[in-house]
């Protein structure tokens, strides 16, 4: 009798653990996608794009507008929106970042401020155009879930992880197997030398921004089924920054691993640390969900100042 009760408790604990793991992985996959976008721009240009999240939100509004409540199939709308976002990212590099970088002559602050300018502009643009009420956005993979050891794993979770895998795969092929990918890595490592073998650094930077923008669009589409409004990416961006920092800002692999770790740690800590350390006192809990993730980062950085996967390097900012 007691044994069965204990067993049931164990099973339910396992079920809960699995449930939190799935939730953490799903969120982590989104963080990883945005972190990858941040890392790509940072690697090729040393720029921290504060507007990444707001650009992604704007792209998601574009996807939503094309989709038109089912007028166009969502995947077709997304494909079109990815192209638009790609072009948008490229134009931003060309029209905003390049002129500012040229004038800033090595000082990172004006570029930081320019990305903040983009952040402000994009954050207001979508609500101004399409209104501030929350929009319905479909789940890309349909409603429903699979059951695994009592825990449910939704199609959305599986799909999000699959998308992350595909994105990582495509990036791997791009970086390792194509000429332009080689050029991007060359620019990331040594822009001057890359330009001396004939790589157009400007084009590579444009491509980097374009890719990042498209990835933001993808991340937005994975998230927006919770309802689309201008605040869509505010919280995910913070976690993505954390993920990129943890993984190492110059490492795409680090961004992915960092994203998943941050997703899981945030989930577990809110669900477990709330009760564990001090019997009656809730210590971390929901309010400070972000706290353990950042604590982890601080510890990692103190041991490895360049992040888990980053290369030791001279100060860039």
């Amino acid at each position: 009798m007691m044994v069965t009760a204990l067993l049931a408790e164990e099973v339910s604990a396992l079920t809960n653990f699995l449930q939190y793991t799935f939730l953490g992985l799903q969120k982590g996959a989104v963080y990883a996608t945005i972190a990858l976008a941040l890392v790509i721009i940072f690697r090729v240009s040393g720029i921290l794009n504060f507007a990444q999240g707001e650009m992604a939100t704007f792209s998601t509004f574009i996807t939503w507008a094309i989709w038109g409540d089912g007028r166009v199939p969502i995947w077709a709308a997304l494909a079109l929106s990815l192209v638009v976002s790609f072009a948008l990212g490229a134009s931003i590099e060309r029209l905003v970042i390049r002129p500012v970088s040229k004038k800033a002559a090595g000082n990172p602050l004006p570029i930081v401020i320019a990305t903040i300018g983009l952040y402000l502009a994009f954050s207001a643009l979508a609500p101004a155009i399409w209104g501030t009420d929350a929009k319905r956005f479909p789940t890309l993979f349909g409603e429903g879930s699979l059951s695994l050891a009592g825990a449910s794993i939704s199609y959305q979770t599986l799909g999000t992880l699959a998308v992350l895998a595909v994105v990582v795969g495509l990036l791997f092929v791009l970086f390792q197997k194509t000429k332009i990918g080689l050029a991007m890595r060359g620019v990331a490592s040594n822009a001057e030398s890359a330009s001396l073998v004939g790589v157009s650094v400007g084009s590579v930077l444009m491509l980097g921004w374009a890719l990042s923008s498209a990835m933001g669009c993808m991340a937005g589409a994975l998230t927006a089924n919770v309802g689309l409004n201008g605040a869509l990416m505010i919280a995910p961006l913070i976690y993505a920054f954390a993920a990129a920092t943890l993984g190492g800002f110059d490492s795409p692999a680090g961004a992915v691993v960092g994203g998943l770790i941050v997703g899981l740690v945030a989930e577990y800590s809110a669900d477990y640390l709330a009760e564990v350390p001090f019997t009656t006192i809730t210590f971390i809990g929901e309010q400070l969900r972000i706290f353990p993730a950042f604590l982890l980062i601080l510890v990692v950085l103190l041991v490895r100042p360049q992040g888990l996967f980053g290369k030791p390097q001279v100060t860039r900012v």
Binding site: F50, V100, I113, Y119, L120, A121, F294
Partner: protein, 353 residues
């Protein structure tokens, strides 16, 4: 006191102009300073109280921006976490004034001490963590501050914040009022008193920071910013300087926070979130990085920017603000002060020619 202090704050618009000092330039500067001081002092007497309140707000933010400029502009450490230090100052003042009826100046001093200590602790990782990674550690601080406030709602009033009751607010002390009345014949209104209090605090901060930066310490800070290794070779204790700068910078931000609460009679966590950190950084650069007038100009721009855009479509105002920032960075990475310096240099050249 304000009259004497204000002039020393202004002339720096021109300190780096590569022309030889000449009598005419000096004269223009002096005139500018005197005019500036007179304007600063006369302002609240000429303006209505909403303007006075906004100007007090400018002064509060200017002190916080001054702190961030010391850290980022002069010492090269980017912080996206200064909203938290401002918040520490704000909450120290709000809690002490609301719960213990403490005098404002005392609360500000406590705010300074607490913020300095927290600043030093946050600055410690800077010994090892650099550049973008440090910026993101400070981002964590900014992200967590409002959450901590809500977490400890018993002390902080949670998300509703703390609103000072009439009896707890900063009002004109009777002796000051009497003195003012004997001089001018009219009462010194509370908001005017608050403005002058903020002005005195701000001027003292600006003068102290200016003296600090012009001193041996300041040269060390700048040496560290420009290149750490040679600075170290020259015998500068890089670590100690960096951590101490973090502390002082945090302290200034906290003073700004205290002044903010004095002016607003309220501390709400949402007013000390990441967005504010970003605004402070924006003000540093928009004003002019590593200048002395920059923080004041940046704070002024921040508070008054919304007035610049057409009122018919307020939803587009942030879009225009964003685009303005970008255009400013393309025209003048040195911010408004940089722009003014270019103009000033031209003026001096043409006048003295």
């Amino acid at each position: 006191m304000t009259a004497a202090a204000a002039p020393s704050e202004l002339p720096d618009t021109s300190s780096e102009v590569p022309t030889r000092p000449n009598r005419k330039a000096l004269m223009i500067k002096t005139v500018l300073c005197v005019v500036g001081a007179v304007v600063l002092i006369q302002m609240p007497l000429l303006m209505d109280r909403s303007t006075t309140q906004r100007l007090t707000q400018v002064l509060a933010i200017a002190v916080a921006v001054l702190g961030l400029n010391l850290l980022t502009g002069f010492n090269g450490q980017i912080s996206v976490g200064h909203s938290a230090f401002m918040g520490i100052g704000a909450y120290a003042t709000a809690i002490m004034m609301a719960r213990h009826e403490s005098p404002f100046i005392l609360t500000m001093m406590v705010a300074m001490v607490v913020a300095f200590a927290v600043g030093v602790v946050v600055g410690l990782p800077a010994l090892r963590i650099r550049g973008v990674y440090l910026a993101l550690v400070t981002l964590a601080l900014a992200a967590m501050f409002p959450q901590l406030v809500v977490r400890f709602s018993g002390l902080t009033g949670g998300s509703t914040g703390i609103t000072l009751e009439d009896t707890q607010q900063v009002t004109t002390p009777q002796p000051v009022n009497d003195l003012f009345k004997s001089l001018t014949g009219s009462r010194l209104l509370d908001n005017q008193y608050r403005y002058y209090l903020a002005l005195v605090v701000a001027v003292v901060c600006f003068v102290l920071v200016r003296n600090l930066v012009k001193s041996r310490v300041g040269r060390a800070l700048i040496a560290i910013r420009d290149n750490e290794t040679p600075a170290e070779v020259l015998g500068v204790n890089v670590g100690a300087y960096k951590v101490a700068t973090f502390g002082v910078s945090a302290m200034l931000a906290a003073i700004g926070g205290s002044l903010f609460v004095m002016n607003a009679d309220q501390a709400v966590p949402s007013e000390f979130g990441i967005q504010v950190s970003i605004e402070l950084l924006t003000a540093v650069v928009v004003g002019g990085v590593a200048t002395f007038v920059g923080p004041a100009v940046g704070a002024l721009a921040l508070v008054y920017v919304s007035d610049l855009f057409p009122k018919e479509h307020p939803e587009y105002a942030p879009v225009l603000f964003g685009l303005t920032l970008i255009v400013l960075m393309i025209i003048s990475p040195g911010g408004i002060v940089g722009l003014a310096k270019q103009g000033w240099a031209r003026l001096v050249r043409s006048r003295s020619a």
